[in-house]
C-alpha cells in the first residue's frame, strides 16, 4: 500500500550522531503526526509524542507506523492522548506498526490506552525486529469506553497481536482478542471482575530471574484494585500482565516496574549520552 493510501502514516528513523540520538528522517502523512521532541534532561534521549489529528479512529481507518532506531540510538515514543476507537459499522479500524531495533539501540514505546467505544472493532498488528544488545520497553492498555447503557463492554472487538523477533527468531507472540460481541467476557478464567487489561513487555540482555523476583516484590507493594502477573520470557526479558477496573491502577503497576529498572540500571551505568 502506498504511503498516501493510509488514513495516517508515520515513519521515524533515529540515529546516534556523536553520542546524541537525533532524527535521521521523519515523515508523516494525513491523520498521524509527531511533535518536536522533548529531550530527557538526564539521558538526553528524545521523546516524541504521536498525535492523531482526527481526534479518534473511525470506521475503516487504516494506520501505519514505521520506527527504526539505529545502532546505539535511543528513543522514547508515546502518544499525546488515548487512542479512541469509535463505532465501526462497516469495517474495523486497522493499525500496523513495524519497529526495527538495531544493535544496542533502546526504545521505550509506551502509548496511552486504547479505548473501545460502543460497537467499535479494532485490529492492531505490531511487529518488532530486534538485534543483539537492543533494549525494548513496550506497553499496551485496553479499556472500554463510555456507553449510553452503562455496559462495561460495549465495544465489539479489540484485537491486538504483537510479534517480537530477536535476531530473526520469534521470541514473543502475544495475541489478545477481546470480543464482547460474541464472547462472554466477565467469566471465571477470562476477564472475571475486571474491565481493563494492560501488558508490559521488556526485553534486555541485563534482565535476569533475580530482577523479575524484585519486580514481583514491587508489584506486591502496590495498592489498588488489580490483579497482576509477571513471568520471564524464553530470552532475557519478561511479560507483565495487569487486570484492573481503572487505567490508573494499571499505569501505576507498569510505572513502578519501569522505575525500578531505570533506577537500577542507571545507578550502575549512567547513560552514555550524559558525557556529551
Amino acid at each position: 500500500m502506498d504511503r498516501t493510501q493510509w488514513t495516517g502514516f508515520l515513519s521515524m528513523d533515529i540515529e546516534n550522531r556523536a553520542g546524541k540520538s537525533v532524527p535521521k528522517n521523519i515523515y508523516f502523512h494525513d491523520a498521524l503526526k509527531v511533535q518536536r521532541p522533548v529531550y530527557d534532561g538526564k539521558s538526553g534521549r528524545p521523546c516524541y509524542y504521536i498525535l492523531n489529528l482526527g481526534g479518534g479512529y473511525l470506521d475503516g481507518d487504516t494506520y501505519r507506523i514505521e520506527i527504526k532506531v539505529r545502532e546505539k540510538a535511543e528513543l522514547t515514543l508515546t502518544t499525546l492522548g488515548a487512542t479512541l476507537i469509535y463505532k465501526t459499522p462497516t469495517k474495523p479500524v486497522y493499525q500496523e506498526t513495524e519497529i526495527f531495533l538495531e544493535e544496542n539501540s533502546y526504545l521505550e514505546y509506551l502509548p496511552d490506552p486504547i479505548i473501545g467505544y460502543e460497537k467499535a472493532r479494532y485490529k492492531q498488528l505490531d511487529t518488532i525486529y530486534m538485534k543483539k544488545g537492543a533494549t525494548l520497553f513496550y506497553s499496551d492498555i485496553l479499556t472500554p469506553g463510555w456507553s449510553a447503557e452503562g455496559r462495561s463492554f460495549s465495544y465489539d472487538m479489540l484485537h491486538l497481536r504483537t510479534n517480537i523477533y530477536m535476531e530473526d527468531e520469534l521470541v514473543v507472540y502475544d495475541n489478545i482478542k477481546l470480543e464482547p460481541a460474541v464472547q462472554q467476557i466477565d467469566v471465571l478464567g477470562f476477564m472475571e471482575e475486571y474491565t481493563h487489561l494492560g501488558t508490559f513487555i521488556v526485553i534486555a540482555e541485563k534482565i535476569d530471574e533475580d530482577l523479575v523476583k524484585r519486580l514481583q516484590e514491587v508489584i506486591n507493594k502496590q495498592s489498588g484494585d488489580f490483579k497482576a502477573g509477571i513471568s520471564s520470557l524464553t530470552v532475557a526479558g519478561f511479560t507483565l500482565r495487569v487486570m484492573a477496573n481503572m487505567t490508573q491502577d494499571i499505569q501505576k503497576v507498569i510505572s513502578a516496574c519501569h522505575a525500578l529498572i531505570s533506577k537500577e540500571w542507571y545507578a550502575k551505568t549512567p547513560p552514555l549520552l550524559r558525557k556529551y
Binding site: Y173, N175, I176, L188, Y194, S231, R241
Partner: protein
C-alpha cells in the same frame, strides 16, 4: 476396533504419567483463592481452559500441523513448536509443557516407527525445537493415518481427563463427580473441534486473561502440590 486407534490411545494414556499429574496449568491458583471449590466451579474453569486456551493454541496447532504435513512443509511444524512455546506467557507452565513434551516424544519414538518423530526428537535434543505434546500428537496421529479431527479430539479428551484427575485430588471432588464432568464434556469436546476448524490464522493463541494470570501467579504460591 482399528489397531492404529489403539496405538493412539496408548499415547493418550501416557500423557498423565508423562508429567500431567504434576501440572495443574493454573488451576491450583484458583483453588487456593477459593474460586474453584466444587464440581460446578471446576467445570466453569475447565470450560474456559478448553474453549479458550486449548482450542486456540494446542488444538489449532494440531490442525495447522496436519495441513503442513500434507504439504511436506516440515519448517512449518518446527515453527508451530516455537509458536506454541513462546505464546505461553507463564514460564512455569511453559517449562511444564516442555517437560511433558520431552517425555511424550521419547515414548512416541519408542512405540512408533516414524522418521519424522525421530527427527523432532533429534531437533529437541539439539535444542533446535522446544518440545510440545500437541506437536507429538500431530506427528503420531499423522503417522498412524488417523484423521486430523480424531487426533484433535483425543488430544483434548486426554487433557480433560488429566485435569479432572488433578481436580479430584486437589479440590478435592469425588471420583463419581469427576466422571460426571467427563461425560458432560463430551459435547463440548465435539464442539471444540468444530470451532478449531473455523478459526483463522490470526486467532492462533488468543489469550484467556484470567487463566493466564493464574498460571503466572502460580509461580509465587508458597504451598503447593502441583509444579504449575
Amino acid at each position: 476396533m482399528d489397531s492404529s486407534l489403539l496405538s493412539l490411545f496408548q499415547l493418550c494414556d501416557s500423557n498423565f504419567p508423562s508429567g500431567g499429574f504434576s501440572h495443574s496449568f493454573g488451576l491450583e491458583t484458583y483453588i487456593q483463592q477459593d474460586k474453584v471449590i466444587d464440581p460446578e466451579t471446576f467445570s466453569q474453569w475447565l470450560t474456559l481452559y478448553l474453549e479458550e486456551q486449548m482450542v486456540s493454541a494446542d488444538g489449532f496447532a494440531i490442525k495447522l500441523a496436519y495441513q503442513a504435513l500434507e504439504n511436506d512443509n516440515f519448517e512449518e511444524i518446527w515453527h508451530l513448536d516455537r509458536l506454541l512455546t513462546v505464546q505461553n506467557v507463564s514460564q512455569e507452565t511453559r517449562e511444564g509443557t516442555r517437560f511433558m513434551g520431552r517425555s511424550l516424544i521419547k515414548i512416541a519414538e519408542t512405540i512408533y516407527d516414524s522418521e519424522l518423530i525421530e527427527l523432532y526428537n533429534k531437533r529437541i535434543k539439539e535444542k533446535k525445537s522446544f518440545a510440545h505434546p500437541a506437536i507429538v500428537f500431530a506427528l503420531a496421529g499423522n503417522h498412524l493415518k488417523i484423521t486430523k479431527d480424531t487426533t484433535i479430539l483425543y488430544y483434548m479428551y486426554s487433557t480433560v481427563i488429566n485435569l479432572v484427575q488433578n481436580a479430584v485430588r486437589a479440590i478435592p471432588i469425588g471420583q463419581t463427580a469427576g466422571q460426571k464432568i467427563i461425560t458432560a464434556f463430551q459435547p463440548k469436546l465435539q464442539k471444540a473441534v468444530t470451532t478449531i476448524n473455523d478459526l483463522e490464522e490470526s486467532d492462533f493463541g488468543t489469550i484467556a486473561p484470567g487463566i493466564e494470570m493464574a498460571q503466572m501467579q502460580h509461580e509465587n504460591l508458597t504451598v503447593r502440590i502441583f509444579m504449575s
